[in-house]
């Protein structure tokens, strides 16, 4: 048995610094030479002042000036354009100079995030221009890969959620904010626990095989937040496997993993950008196939020091329960089933009716999730500084106790610091952004207790001990031992990024981004002897899990902005070096004979240690060239060459790139005839992005030592998998076209985008016949999966007055997915599962045709007419099943914000049209030893009965009831409209504030999931599982003030 090599981390950390130095000396790549060449040529041109155009020289004069913002800070790289398209950009001090201008010349000053200005030169020769932050939706800053852009001239598709929206939702995991707010992004919580991993799918499923983790790339302030997926534990939700997140010890969590965003303080987040199309994502090249999500943290602001305090508290409660049988109904159904099956009412056929009290009643649904949870949130921040140095310091505390929790709950404490310093002449700018947080969560493994027989005995006996003996002979269905088996996880996360920006010359900037994050997580799960069945010789056990990951990223960049030829060029060249190490350690102690010893792993009679370890290295060079002609025509090129340690020698590098274009047709002369169209843009992009998400070392066949005991004196060695040495990059080709309109002075903004993504060379875990030795192999499958879709966004500023404001935002997305091609499909393992040309969410079900009034059996359509109902899972023989598509038809969100004087109200509805699994047909047939919806009481009793539920039976296979589970009787409408969020604010009037010496003071009420409109037959159309906890409603109240 090999043990953990404690020196391992330290020893191999050193070489990569050598590697960097090595790099400096040895590798000057062709690509970069050419970048340099192009840039240098352009640079020289940009220095040329515009040539004199007309007439006498004495009317021309030199004009110089300075551009500053509303806080007096000089702005660098602001573009100042003349009517003919030529122009210049400001230098680091915000200064610019034109050699020859006429008094009639108009300067057009524009900068991302600020309202543009047009200034007639006149006779002045020294101008000070102050730019004001924009209020126009089109000109707002949108964060993009390695930079910022706006909606006016941007060529890509980026959706953005801001701090203002985040503030309104009392969620711990900031990613949950995206649901209903970001078109094309679907979010699913894996388990309902607040710390749980989230499934985030951008623009549809791309993987033919759900067992490979396919997640977007998450970047927090320039640093990827991506622990390596070492853990053999798998959680699958909605056709995708979800990363276990910050828990990679190999120890399962009752929550189903822990999201790294559980450790990100939502209140510190300035914005979340979801990068979707090729143009936006290709700069992240090889990691962008599944989309990119950029999380930008709040930064400091120059000016008076402002203290911001925000506190709220509230509770959560499940509001929907589905009617289940009471004891009398349950007993009646069970007896009917026994009678039908010709079984006696004895201890062996019906222990639940003979050994248990049949007059007892427990509402197990309310037992399971009838309690209430608590929410507390407190945030304090300080911002301020001078034009040279500014800062933001934030501290936060969150507490949320789950409804199903027994003790403790989830807590997060966090600190964040953002610091910016500029040298007096603004040559060097230093930005530091750091967040540190500690979280803890106490959980238990909950069994599906909601569906226990209603007459099941009490959980605890009179002595307060677990009632195992009371449950005999059905002790196996006693699932309450876990109540006394606490699970705890605590995690710390440090995320830090230092950006050094150096203004080389006018238009030229060099930048180095140094990012680091690390996380340490500890889990423990204790199983005391008292929690186990005393009849089974129980022994206690204690399991510890430890996960450590650290991730280092360096991204040197060089950027140029300037006027070249008739237009403006922005060029960015950069490189990435990333190294990630993740180590998971599991310590299991078992065989404790006394609960008193359970705190100490040293006291465990049997110990097992399992270590998982991986290192990932990633490198790449990227280039972006963006050319803007007259603010009418924009072309944007991205190129990237990336290498990943996840592939074998010779297969490591891949090339990715995109082209994006935009035509702002509203700037054309012919549009003057349509004055109500204030803005119009057509944009399109095409590109190739990639993915290497297959886990590490997949190209190697590895053997591991067994974690248990020995065989003889030998530590047993086992092979772990096949290896495909030919593994290479997966490719995702993305095409997008979009129309953007601003109507009536941008009061109405519309955006319609169409996309088509094709994912090829998929990296999957291909199921193979186990006769080879393993059930699957990680390889590139030839599957080509297409997602096409439409996203519609609208923002309407219906009322924009001083006292009254009404804004409505709507987003709607439709995604259609299909398996485009699969060479030699008939010979593939998927022929029984998918169909070429059909969606991946296809599932096949028998067609339920009703209950036979004569026999009470479930009848199904004999589609192939062979006289019998057959289910074939192999695709080889006859099959009576028909395909059903369970993906949402469309989904969308509508937010309305209304403010009147001191009041403001925001309402978010989220809706989805879909089919789903109802609660009426479950895996357990009516008559089995589980509770059922009351609807089954309409069961078949005698010949001639026309019913919706068949003849009750205790045997799942003796009748069609078992087949009912494989039929479309399970499927019904699961569409819904959810009042996702409602928040109401009241701001204290200015007079009161002055008296109190406060900058602002507001009181608020927030509600989450307050209303559900649905015809779904079951608890929750999003959860779609009777017995699982529906999404609770959360109501909070709080106040925030600024000092």
């Amino acid at each position: 048995m090999k043990t953990a090599e404690s020196g391992h981390v330290a020893r191999s950390a050193a070489p990569h610094f050598y590697t960097i130095i090595h790099l400096y000396l040895h590798f000057v790549m062709k690509l970069v030479i050419s970048i340099l060449l192009i840039l240098s040529i352009l640079f020289t041109q940009a220095q040329q002042p515009p040539p004199p155009t007309t007439s006498a020289a004495n009317t021309r004069h030199q004009v110089s000036g300075k551009v500053i913002n509303h806080r007096g800070e000089p702005l660098a790289r602001v573009s100042i354009t003349l009517r003919n398209g030529s122009g210049t950009v400001t230098d680091a001090q915000g200064q610019f100079t034109f050699a020859h201008l006429q008094p009639s010349d108009i300067l057009h000053i524009s900068f991302v995030g600020y309202a543009e200005q047009r200034i007639v030169v006149g006779s002045r020769n020294n101008l000070v221009i102050t730019l004001q932050p924009t209020s126009n939706h089109l000109d707002e800053v949108v964060v993009q890969g390695y930079g910022i852009t706006n909606r006016r001239t941007g060529t890509g598709n980026i959706s953005r959620v801001t701090a203002e929206e985040i503030e309104k939702q009392p969620v711990i995991n900031v990613m949950q904010i995206l649901q209903g707010r970001s078109a094309g992004t679907s979010i699913t919580n894996v388990s309902g626990a607040v710390s749980a991993s989230l499934s985030i799918v951008v623009r549809g499923l791309t993987g033919i095989e759900p067992s490979v983790i396919r997640e977007p790339l998450y970047i927090v302030d320039g640093v990827p937040l991506t622990p390596l997926n070492l853990s053999p534990v798998q959680t699958t939700v909605g056709g995708t496997t979800i990363s276990q997140g910050t828990i990679q010890s190999g120890m399962a969590s009752p929550a189903g993993g822990q999201s790294p965003f559980f450790n990100i303080n939502a209140a510190d987040v300035e914005s979340i950008e979801v990068l979707k199309d090729a143009d936006a994502t290709a700069i992240y090249g090889s990691r962008a196939a599944n989309g990119v999500i950029l999380i930008t943290m709040k930064k400091g602001k120059a000016g008076k020091t402002v203290t911001d305090l925000n506190v709220y508290t509230g509770f959560s409660k499940v509001t929907r329960f589905f009617p289940l049988l009471n004891t009398a109904q349950y007993v009646q159904l069970r007896k009917a089933a026994l009678l039908n099956d010709g079984l006696p009412l004895d201890l062996f056929s019906a222990p639940d009716l003979v050994a248990w009290d049949t007059t007892r009643y427990t509402d197990w649904q309310r037992y399971a999730f009838g309690g209430s949870g608590r929410v507390v949130n407190a945030q304090l921040s300080l911002t301020g500084g001078t034009t040279q140095t500014n800062f933001r310091l934030g501290a936060g505390y969150n507490y949320q106790r789950d409804i199903a929790a027994i003790s403790g709950g989830n807590q997060r404490g966090s600190l964040s610091l953002a610091l910016q310093h500029k040298t007096p002449r603004q040559k060097l700018i230093i930005d530091l952004s750091t967040q540190y947080s500690i979280t803890s969560s106490n959980l238990i493994y909950n069994g599906t207790t909601a569906l226990l027989p209603p007459n099941a005995p009490a959980v605890f006996d009179r002595q307060g001990k677990l009632n195992y003996s009371g449950w005999t002979p059905l002790v196996n269905s006693f699932m309450f031992g876990s109540l006394l088996q606490p699970y705890e996880a605590s995690t710390s996360l440090l995320n830090s990024n230092l950006v050094l920006t150096y203004n080389l010359a006018r238009g030229w900037t060099a930048r180095v981004n140094l990012g680091y994050n690390n996380s340490f997580s500890r889990q423990s799960h204790t199983i005391p002897i008292t929690s186990l069945n005393p009849d089974l010789n129980p022994r206690g056990s204690l399991t510890f899990g430890r996960t450590f990951f650290h991730n280092l990223i360096t991204e040197p960049q060089i950027e140029y902005t300037g006027f070249v030829g008739p237009g403006k060029l922005s060029a960015l060249g950069g490189g990435t070096y990333q190294s990630n190490k993740t180590n998971g350690l599991l310590n299991a102690g078992s065989n404790y004979t006394s609960d008193l010893l359970l705190g100490s792993i040293n006291a465990a009679p049997t110990k097992v240690v399992v270590e998982n370890d991986a290192q990932y290295k990633y490198t790449g060079g990227f280039l972006r060239l963006s050319y803007n002609l007259f603010d009418k025509y924009v072309i944007n090129l991205n190129g990237r060459r990336d290498g990943s340690s996840r592939f074998g020698a010779g297969k490591r590098f891949g090339n990715f790139g995109s082209i994006g274009t935009a035509w702002i047709f509203s700037a054309e002369r012919f549009m003057k005839g349509l004055p109500f169209v204030s803005f119009g843009k057509l944009r399109g992009s095409y590109g190739v992005t990639g993915s290497d998400q297959i886990g590490d070392y997949a190209y190697l066949s590895l053997w591991v030592f067994g974690t248990g005991g020995r065989y003889g004196d030998h530590s047993p060695l086992f092979p772990t998998r096949f290896a495909d040495t030919l593994l290479h990059w997966e490719q995702n080709r993305k095409l997008e076209g979009a129309l953007q309109l601003g109507l009536f002075k941008d009061r109405i903004n519309l955006e319609v985008a169409y996309y088509r993504n094709r994912c090829n060379n998929q990296l999957i875990s291909l199921p193979v016949a186990t006769q080879g030795g393993f059930a699957n192999v990680i390889t590139n499958a030839p599957a080509n999966v297409q997602n096409t879709g439409l996203e519609i966004l609208a923002t309407v500023h219906a009322i924009r007055q001083t006292n009254w404001q009404l804004t409505t935002r709507l987003n709607l997305s439709v995604n259609r997915n299909k398996l485009l091609s699969y060479p030699n499909f008939e010979q593939s393992p998927y022929k029984g599962r998918y169909e070429i040309g059909k969606p991946l969410n296809i599932q096949k079900y028998l067609q339920f045709t009703g209950i036979d009034p004569a026999t009470g059996e479930y009848n199904f359509a004999d589609r192939n007419g062979d006289g019998q109902i057959s289910i074939d899972l192999t695709g080889n023989t006859v099959d009576d099943r028909a395909p059903v598509i369970l993906a949402p038809r469309w989904e969308g969100g509508i937010t309305t914000e209304l403010s009147y004087r001191q009041w403001s109200l925001s309402v978010l509805f989220y809706c989805r049209q879909q089919k789903g699994f109802n609660a009426l047909v479950s895996a357990e047939q009516p008559g089995a030893r589980t509770n059922q919806p009351t609807a089954v009481m309409n069961y078949w009793q005698k010949e001639g009965d026309r019913t919706t539920t068949g003849k009750p039976t205790v045997y799942p296979t003796t009748s069609g009831t078992n087949y009912a589970y494989y039929s479309d009787a399970r499927i019904s409408d699961a569409s819904f409209i959810r009042l996702q969020n409602l928040s109401l604010y009241w701001n204290f009037p200015d007079r009161t504030l002055q008296k109190l010496h406060l900058g602002s003071l507001r009181l608020f009420l927030q509600g989450e999931n307050l209303l559900l409109i649905t015809r779904y037959k079951g608890n929750d159309p999003e959860v779609q599982q009777l017995g699982a906890m529906p999404r609770p409603a959360i109501i909070t109240a709080g106040l925030s003030c600024k000092l």
Partner: protein, 488 residues
């Protein structure tokens, strides 16, 4: 490279400041380096695992790889082909066990000879068996391609792997008939192989076993810990089984004689002692890892013995009346190898060859019973059958009486008629080997009487097609070249 730099120089000079030039040059070269250097993205191997190419470079790790196969054979919670599966599933499918809980459909399918191709246990049997075969193949490939191992050790590892592989293939064919016969590890080839006819598999196995028999010592010296690995006589015992199934009775006789004449084994004094750890009649007795829960018990013990307790838990399955009647009165084996429990005023007898069950299973518990794979009694009975087939009736009776004597039964007269002798051979195998490794299932099929006997003993028709288990549905889905057994 230098040429290009010179070319760029005049352009670079346009940067007026030298520092700027330095910064820009450094950055761009760094960026360029990042975009093209293989070295940067090389990572050290994980400390927690060994690449296959390195496993077979040292004796110790090669032996560990072999130990891994034995470990895997005997340590699984769910029964596998080698770990209880042969016993439990084929006892249900033949006339040895009746499943108690009729709602447990996955087991009921075996008892009712109505197996479905998607039966979860079938899939597990199959998958686990081929995982072991892969490991044996990897070991064979590994030790043959590496020349750094000690030659004697290399030879013995290879020979044990060959026996192990043959052992699993033999068991697979008794359940499934034709199976894919795979002897390499390259997944692109192996995962799409067709099934090989049984006769061809058998001739391969016989060849392998003969070769291994030559190369293996009679001692158990490579893997420490008793008679826990394949030695020469294990290879010979398996050869005897293969000769029996292919009707080569001379071969069976020779093989059995070799083992019996070796003097290495002796019948245990009483039936009660047969399954004890280090039993004198054990030719191969796998040893569990008792550090984890329940592995001081065998799967037979865990599954077939009921739980003790205040409440009378029914046994998982019980012995059918017909089998109980087949025991002669006074048979010590009935006393030593069966137990009973009254459930709902019915007295149910269940097999208890192994005595450590769920109520005794505990992590770290003392191992009292080894998992008996090959034992002398079977060889004695095989020789009896071979002698009978080769017309040595008195010799056959002598062998049967060795077994009967231990069971405290009257010896049979040596002047039995041919039909009576055959019946005696069949009767003795039925009783001595009941609920053990599917001997009954294999015997009924081997004797060609399965259809009739099972239909009578189970009072329900058992079709010919049911005599082979179905190839698991998942396998057919993943490998389009596989075909299903008739009737599924």
């Amino acid at each position: 490279m230098t040429n290009k730099l010179t070319l760029c120089a005049p352009i670079l000079v346009r940067f007026q400041c030298r520092n700027r030039l330095l910064v820009a040059g450094l950055l761009t070269s760094l960026i360029g380096g990042l975009a093209g250097c293989e070295k940067i993205v090389e990572v050290p191997l994980p400390a927690t695992s060994i690449p296959q190419s390195m496993v077979f470079t040292t004796d110790q790790e090669a032996i560990s790889a072999l130990a891994g196969t034995y470990y895997r054979m005997v340590n699984s919670n769910t029964p596998t082909l080698i770990n209880g599966g042969m016993t439990i599933y084929s006892a249900l499918a033949s006339d040895e066990l009746v499943v108690f809980d009729k709602s447990n459909t996955a087991y009921l399918q075996y008892y009712q000879n109505n197996l479905q191709a998607n039966n979860p246990f079938i899939a597990y049997l199959w998958e686990n068996s081929y995982q072991l075969i892969y490991q044996f193949n990897a070991i064979l490939e590994g030790v043959h391609s590496n020349h750094t191992l000690t030659p004697a050790i290399q030879e013995q590892i290879a020979a044990q792997a060959m026996v192990g592989r043959a052992f699993i293939y033999y068991q697979l064919t008794t359940l499934f008939g034709a199976v894919p016969y795979i002897t390499i590890t390259d997944w692109r080839t192996t995962t799409i192989r067709k099934r090989e006819p049984v006769e061809r598999v058998y001739s391969q196995l016989i060849a392998d076993l003969k070769e291994a028999e030559q190369r293996l010592p009679a001692s158990y010296n490579l893997i420490t810990g008793g008679k826990t690995s394949f030695n020469k006589w294990a290879a010979t015992a398996l050869l005897a089984r293969l000769h029996a199934i292919t009707g080569n009775w001379q071969g069976v006789l020779t093989a059995c004689d070799k083992i019996m004449n070796s003097g290495d084994y002796a019948l245990a004094a009483t039936p009660a002692g047969v399954f004890h750890l280090n039993s004198p009649e054990a030719i191969l007795q796998l040893k569990q890892d008792n550090t984890t829960y329940s592995f001081n018990a065998t799967r037979e013990g865990m599954f077939l013995l009921p739980i003790d307790g205040l409440f009378p838990f029914p046994p998982f399955a019980y012995l059918p009346q017909k089998l109980l009647l087949d025991f002669e009165s006074g048979d010590q084996r009935f006393t030593d190898w069966t137990q009973s429990r009254e459930i709902d005023s019915r007295l149910l007898h269940y097999p208890a060859k192994y005595k450590v069950g769920p109520s005794q299973a505990e992590p770290g518990g003392q191992i009292q019973e080894g998992y008996m794979v090959l034992r002398l009694a079977e060889i004695v009975l095989l020789r009896a059958e071979a002698r009978f087939r080769l017309d040595d009736i008195s010799g056959a009776i002598d062998d049967l009486n060795l077994i009967r004597q231990r069971a405290t039964l009257k010896p049979l007269p040596t002047d039995l008629q041919e039909a009576e002798t055959l019946r005696a051979v069949q009767q003795e195998r039925r009783i001595e080997l009941f609920c053990e490794w599917g001997h009954r299932w294999v015997d009924l099929n081997r004797w060609g009487v399965a259809e009739t006997i099972l239909s009578i003993n189970k009072s329900a028709p058992v079709s010919r097609n049911a005599l082979l288990f179905p190839i698991p549905a998942n396998e057919l889905m993943s490998n389009p070249n596989l075909d299903q057994n008739t009737g599924y």
